[in-house]
Symmetry: D2
Subunit: 360 residues, 4 copies
């Protein structure tokens, strides 16, 4: 039954994925005499860890119980007391862990502490499922960069608009709703200034109970209008990245808007890697790029794309000048092209969705 | 058991699809007292019809038997005596037909003849499967044009080559072998002169027991080299379509090559619909286009594409000047774009194959 | 996303199915601004309800939040304060319920209370999945009888043993392990005295973290040996049902065994419906019968079987006197035979498992 | 494409399975230059072999062609000239064979002859599928006994009737129609005299275009009534097996019935193996037993059952005296029970079908 209990812990962790940023989603289940006596998940950065909630629920009964936890319990002094200590104190007999932590402060030290205390520790149950859950978090911790997903809606011949620029709507409603699920579970959404100027989008999550991501605008010359939806709607924060040449006066009118932050990069043009580094420091672990061909290309050229999601409509647009997903120069040789792995193919009514992840 | 017998007839017809051009593939099965006493398929234009082979095999026993045939038996004087007459003469009691014929000379007259002779006729068993078998033939008969399948091998971002033109090989071996199956079952393959000049391809079917299609070259100024593989290899016929301005001297050296035919169109430039009309008259019912962006676009602009087959490799090439499947101007509005239906999606190792058919 | 949240609530409820007896398994999830802020499950009779745990976790944030709960919140004074009152007090804005309660004391009164308080109440999300979860509980509440599952391990020809009585082991190890999962999630296991005398079984759940059911023995003349495993092993309670003629002296030696209870029925022979009524009063909601042909037949004749689970081994034993799953007289006419519905068929290595539920 | 051609040959062979008795079903396809130029199947004992039909259809073109054949071509003088000789004479270049022949007269000698003639011979393409096709034939050739399939229609508890004998109808219409497909493809159907006396069955195949099997009656004392359907209906032959004590007078009235044959075994009682040996000599390769518990048991006890087909209805009949599939003594120890392998499980509306084949 161990598997069943770990599945539940993973299910709990999965259900809070996206709301614990910059912490990882963790689930825990406490079991004794064939019955669940406690369970928990880390709900939000700054709040209790999954193990704390689960052990509190178990109370006295935790003595001699088994705890199933999706990630190695913490052992360092952070915002909360280390979970490893609490597990020992509560008299837990056996700890089953799906994944060890990649965080340098933890990395096996939690397990060591537990083992030294004479607790039976098992690592690796449903490891593969857990790794999938932690793809974003581990990437973030290792690289100090958010996990980047680029999205594109194209015709069968790879066009995102006609030569004249008509792009509303290439894909069907099911595909467009699916996009909102991605917005919901990402920390931030990123677009270029042209998208703001042309479409005046809201960039919010329009599904019931949806969570809005931070809106990141790449805007070298700070051309974002003061009356743009992303500035005025107060639905989520908007972070505008501008070049060093933008004057203080130009930034002035945004200052008293609590929902807008201006980030000035230390160069004339905006370097996308720089932007990612900065937002990572701000605790953004995942970025959903809905940016158009030029913005997409910036990620391609810098090899900063972790995932590519493509919605294909069953039409052929044609046109050698009609835009495709990535503008710019592209790669010159096939051997230079970025390699992906097609992870998922799904029919969405008459459209098709393809999810590809960066290889290796 | 009727279904089982018709399935066998369809199986026989399907197995000869592509070799009976310009006739349709037909299968027939004769059954009496619960046993198969004869079966047949039309093997080649000019040879016996399926019904003739099946009834010959059945011999005397055909009296009072049932015949299952995939297409309405012919009733007109053609190269062979009408099958309807033979069925009557043999004393068949019941005729089960999957599909009526679209051919104006037949169109129900076979059924009428049989019914008048007092034979029990049933139409429509496994009709849907039969229609699929006759998609090419019915299109050809109704429109006097071959059924056109355009093939493209692309990256995830819809590119058929890098900006510098590197395209060998975007797709994997499984996908490339799959292409040869399409060559095998098409009457003709079509490319533009640039493909001949750049790649000097053979355009033959390189799978065991593969059948080579006729090779059609669009070559306005007759620039096909005399030493090109398609001219010298004698593996299949090569039909070169040239503009009216091409001089007789230029055509001269091809004249004594039995495998090459020069077709001169009555215009300066080559109109693709004109080409299709001509090859249809020559008995070509299906054309497989492996032509590159410009040739593909000719079919797109004239709305002459019946099927689009796309092999997608899991790489991103990028480049706004890197070619996509269709060059040319394309459509200006999304509402003008040609609509297709995604009929099949298949993983081919790490590649993906999408088959889309023209809607309506 | 509503569905996702209710799925989690159902998942939580499902994970505690079997440990909340005689209460139903209930799960709850509290959501606000696209994030989960609390979740809970009722873990054990006498402990907090799912809603209480979830709302405590949510704390202040519960104000204006949505709660997803698998079963209608209670509104009556029970062992705990009514959950409906707590939901109102916490300022919840919207309540989504999978299933209304069948319990006469609740039955819509919880919903009424919430609605009167101005809360938006929705009923029926994932209703079908919830009904499946509550099959046992609703049967128990409506009929004041436990849900009865009879299990049998047979050969292809329906034999549970050879004519000589050899039955160890007909089915394979996978099938036998599967049986332990059923023991784990049932409140009680039931056998006849002959099984105890012949096999001296332990009737415990021998899988990791398994929960032992109460062991019910039908033993008219109290022939259970004092040294039987079910009497001495102290792994779970053993309830022995005896006829009224059994003398007090005979019962005496069992009295100081805390794990054994003797139930004397008010008749010479033991009526199975009577037994079920008594154990229902004791809070047993589900009974797993592993009883042999005679005991099984008692359930068949009284039409008290809700589910039949059959493990089929790929052997033929033969023998007109070899026992089948049900001894006794059986039904005389086919129209009298009890009707079931085959709900599940599963290969278990070379064995086959069939789950059939009573129809109507 | 080799696989495609062999699949067609197997398809042809499969479609005549059951009508070629006692010869095996064989299919052949002749291919040249990527086109099918001939195909054939052996239709009936005494008629042309598959290779002959296929090569006749191919005519002159057969020179340098490839022939795909499901079974090794014959090389001995039988009713027809050896196919191996014809293949050589026709100038075939390559022979692809799915299965070598088990027949002692052939067994590799066909292949040897072909190889000696310089023909390229390949064996084993789609071998597994071919073996499945030849299960009946190879069993028949090796053992000089027909392949025996026993059929039973039972309740969930393995009963074929109530204790009172009510058995009409346990299973549903779909299951009963399925039985007729088995009758159609078997050479003979076998029942005991009691079935004839109680039900007066026709034992014919009541599906469209169905073929009637020979009807075998086990009737020790020749109690088959002269007015029984199997005697008077002239739908198929009826073979009655009687013991040696039956007088000539008793047999007399059956003599002038062309559809009835009386077989007298040389013993008082009828030995089932003896019956199978005799019908094998008469060319019966497969027997479908629909015999009731006693007849079924005869096959069980002599270990003469190759396949067991069970239709399960979702009812429980009960009754220790209600009959199961096999009467008689049965096996005493589980280790003696006959082992099978469950090959197929199929839902038939609310019924279930299980096909089990004898192991080893
Ligand atoms: Zn912690
Ligand atoms: Zn014809
Ligand atoms: Zn409550
Ligand atoms: Zn032969």
């Amino acid at each position: 039954l161990d598997k069943e209990y770990m599945k539940l812990a993973l299910q709990l962790a999965k259900s809070v994925k996206g709301q614990t940023t910059p912490n990882p989603p963790v689930g825990a289940v406490v079991v004794k005499d064939g019955a669940i006596i406690g369970f928990g998940a880390h709900l939000k950065s700054g709040e209790e860890h999954a193990e704390v909630i689960a052990l509190q629920m178990a109370g006295e009964k935790a003595h001699d119980a088994t705890i199933f936890v999706t990630l190695e319990p913490c052992s360092h002094d952070g915002k909360t007391a280390p979970c490893a200590d609490l597990i020992i104190k509560k008299g837990i007999k056996r700890v089953v862990i799906a994944c060890t932590d990649y965080h340098e402060k933890v990395a096996g030290s939690g397990i060591m502490k537990l083992t030294k205390a004479g607790i039976d520790v098992e690592v690796g149950l449903l490891h593969k499922e857990a790794l999938q859950l932690y793809d974003v978090f581990f990437h973030y911790i290792k690289n100090k960069l958010p996990y980047v997903t680029v999205k594109s809606a194209v015709s069968l011949d790879g066009k995102i608009a006609t030569a004249k620029g008509d792009s509303k709507w290439i894909t069907n409603k099911t595909a467009r709703t699916d996009v909102h699920h991605y917005r919901h579970c990402h920390d931030a959404i990123l677009v270029g200034i042209n998208t703001v100027l042309n479409d005046n989008p809201r960039l919010t999550t329009r599904i019931q109970n949806g969570k809005n991501p931070v809106r990141i605008i790449l805007d070298t010359h700070l051309r974002t209008p003061l009356h743009a939806n992303v500035v005025t709607d107060k639905q989520a924060e908007t972070w505008i990245f501008v070049g060093e040449r933008v004057s203080a006066e130009r930034k002035e009118p945004f200052k008293n808007n609590q929902f807008v932050r201006i980030f000035t990069v230390e160069s004339e043009k905006i370097d996308i890697k720089n932007v990612l580094r900065i937002v990572a420091l701000e605790g953004i672990t995942s970025v959903f790029v809905e940016g158009g061909a030029t913005v997409n290309d910036a990620f391609l050229q810098k090899n900063l794309m972790n995932q590519f999601i493509m919605y294909i409509a069953p039409i052929i647009i044609g046109g050698k000048n009609a835009k495709t997903s990535f503008a710019g120069e592209g790669f010159q040789k096939l051997t230079e092209a970025l390699e992906f792995q097609i992870k998922q193919v799904e029919k969405m009514d008459d459209n098709l969705k393809i999810v590809a992840v960066r290889k290796g």
